[in-house]
Amino acid sequence: MHRNASLGLAIAVMLLAGYGIFAASSWPAKAALFPLAIGIPLFALAAAEALWTLFGAPPARQALSDLEPTAEPAAQRRIAIAAGWIFAFFAAVVLLGFPIAIPLFLFLYLKLQGGEGWALSIGITVVVSAVFYGLFEALLHLPFQAGWLFSWLGFG
């Protein structure tokens, strides 16, 4: 898992650095200096990592931060579902706006994914939404745009 991920990431970085170098080459010298001075070593380092992964002995597990890569299929599936929920929340925020997305997401997640009972789900949703509303909207007047869905439908 480690190896595949490292190889994939290294290749992605190589592509990124390659693009960066290419884009920078058309800029005036002053603007391009740093991006090139970083992009070229970045490409080289990523290439080195990719090659080491492909041809070197498997490295000792030295992750500085300890996230046990849960490689079994069950855990992988759960991660995919989690990612799905995160994107769903993002979509809800963009389409419906924060004030609606937050209670909706909280309730649906607690009920469907967490499997919590009705009382707890509704309770938490109400409390957190109230805190959110009170603090961020009423007190701080942060601009939470209405969702795109509403502007499409003409409410805006």
Partner: protein
């Protein structure tokens, strides 16, 4: 000077000043805790309220609020892996790891105690250094600041794992961070670099959405994958090692805590380096104190020293960054710039006057920092162990709450959906980095230092051409940078010689 010191204390202990300070502390507590309420933003919002206050009261309020955010920001970092403040991100690495092992109480205790030590050192520096700081700050010109950024980048070596492969990945992550720092309009030619024609990216990537994405999102994913509570690796579900243990740790590693506080103070004094650097350099230094290979591997997996270092540094830098603000009227960070606005509002011109005419006010600020931090730490300790119990709550309940915090925390950076996209993108990047065994700390260091390094390099060359390379402080810093890079290698050699 002693009379001014005592007078300052007396002024702060008046009812009104104390009252405002407590109000500030109460506000600052929540500001630090909640990602999305930035210390700087809230300062700006509070500024209008000080119009009618006396200077001592006004600063008791503002500083009381601000100096506390660095302390409570560590709490969410430890408990949830979400940085409450940008300057609390480094505490996540070991602090949250400890929480996962069921040692949340200990981690919180360590974070708070080291924060107090750091705050006291920062305040001490403010009190002692203000009279002598002018020559120091004036010596550090753009070439020196550039070299200081290089020294900061050299700490990547300490933040990387052991061995050649570890170093490669460390510097790879650092270079990647440096690369992302170039996004935005460059200050030399005004070219919009890597903005893909979006207005959002014109001013570059904001730190908070990236931090929140790269640290918090992988933690959330992993929490869901484990299907347990945060302290899930605990066999009996019982929390061990309460807060008091964390305090004892601070004294067990007292000199480390002091050294990291000094690092934080120094970085704070240097205007232009920004507040987020100190915590990473302190973390790197703490990692260097590991004596054996086993110990070194423990960093990132829950070594309490990884909490002590950044915990102390991110508080001491506050006292440090007040110094150039007061002595020169040059703010060391955004929050300081806003505080400066407060000075102007009250009719005070920061500068040499603060050391003569307004010396008492200056010292009252020192006492404010001390008292505010002591009070906060006492209050927090009262229910630290309860806070630690949060790590035993079901993941299914915590995850949506943390996610909401994460999204709001990111969005309030620019009030733009782009913030959320940045968080999601770097969330993915962070997740894959963890999977691939690439360290994230060097990435953040590169991101934070990239712009600073570039700008100061250009200024140095434009102003001095090549002559700046031979300035004495620059050469000294080159030496330090080399030492910082070589030290881990030297340590590795010693360890394998002993093994």
């Amino acid at each position: 000077m002693i009379e001014a010191l005592l007078e300052g204390l007396v002024l702060v202990l008046q009812w009104k000043a104390l009252g405002f300070m407590m109000l500030g502390v109460l506000l600052g507590f929540w500001v630090g805790l909640l990602p999305g309420l930035g210390g700087a933003t809230t300062l700006a919002l509070m500024l209008p309220f000080i119009y009618t206050m006396q200077p001592v009261e006004a600063f008791a309020f503002l500083l009381g609020m601000h100096s506390v955010t660095a302390t409570t920001g560590d709490i969410t970092s430890v408990l949830f892996g979400v940085p409450g403040e940008a300057s609390s991100a480094a505490t996540i690495l070991d602090g949250h790891a400890m929480a996962k092992k069921g040692e949340a109480g200990r981690a919180l205790g360590a974070a708070l105690a080291s924060s107090l030590v750091g705050a006291l050192i920062g305040a001490l520096a403010l009190a002692a250094a203000v009279p002598v700081v002018r020559p120091l700050v004036l010596t550090f010109g753009s070439p020196e600041l550039f070299m200081l950024a290089i020294v900061g980048l050299a700490f990547i070596a300490s933040l990387s794992s052991h061995g050649g492969r570890g170093m490669l990945r460390g510097f790879l992550a650092g270079a990647l961070g440096l690369f992302f720092a170039t996004v935005g309009q460059d200050p030399q030619a005004g070219v919009a670099r890597y903005t893909f024609d979006t207005l959002y990216l014109w001013q570059g990537l904001d730190l908070v959405p990236v931090l929140v994405g790269i640290f918090a999102i992988p933690e959330i994913l992993e929490l869901v994958a484990r299907g347990t509570s945060i302290a899930g690796q605990l066999p009996a579900g019982k929390l061990t090692r309460g807060a008091f243990e964390g305090v004892k740790d601070t004294f067990r590693h007292f000199w480390l805590t002091i050294r990291c506080s000094l690092i934080g103070t120094f970085i704070g004094i240097m205007p232009g380096l920004g507040g987020s650097v100190a915590q990473w350099m302190a973390y790197g230094h703490a990692a260097q104190s590991a004596k054996t290979l086993e110990e070194r591997k423990g960093f990132g997996a829950g070594d309490v020293r990884g909490v002590l270092g950044p915990g102390a540094a991110n508080n001491s830098k506050e006292g440090g960054s007040l110094i150039p603000t007061i002595a020169f009227g040059v703010p060391g960070s955004t929050a300081m710039a806003i505080l400066l606005g407060g000075f102007v509002l009250l009719g005070i011109v920061p500068g040499p006057d603060m050391l003569s005419k307004y010396l008492t006010l200056t010292y009252s600020m020192v006492w404010t920092i001390v008292i505010a931090n002591v009070v906060t730490v006492i209050i927090c300790f009262a229910f630290l162990d309860q806070l630690a119990r949060l790590t035993t709550v079901r993941g299914g309940v915590l995850v949506p709450l943390i996610l909401v915090l994460v999204f709001i925390g990111s969005y309030t950076s620019n009030n733009h959906y782009g913030d959320l996209i940045v968080t999601l993108v770097f969330g993915a990047v962070g997740y894959f980095m963890v999977l691939a065994g690439w360290p994230r700390a060097p990435f953040v260091l590169g991101l934070v230092l990239g712009k600073i390094a570039e700008n100061y390099l250009y200024i140095s060359v434009a102003r001095y051409e090549m002559a700046w390379l031979t300035r004495p402080v620059v050469l000294a810093l080159v030496g330090i940078a080399i030492a910082v890079i070589l030290y881990p290698l030297y340590q590795a050699r010693r360890r394998s010689a002993h093994a």
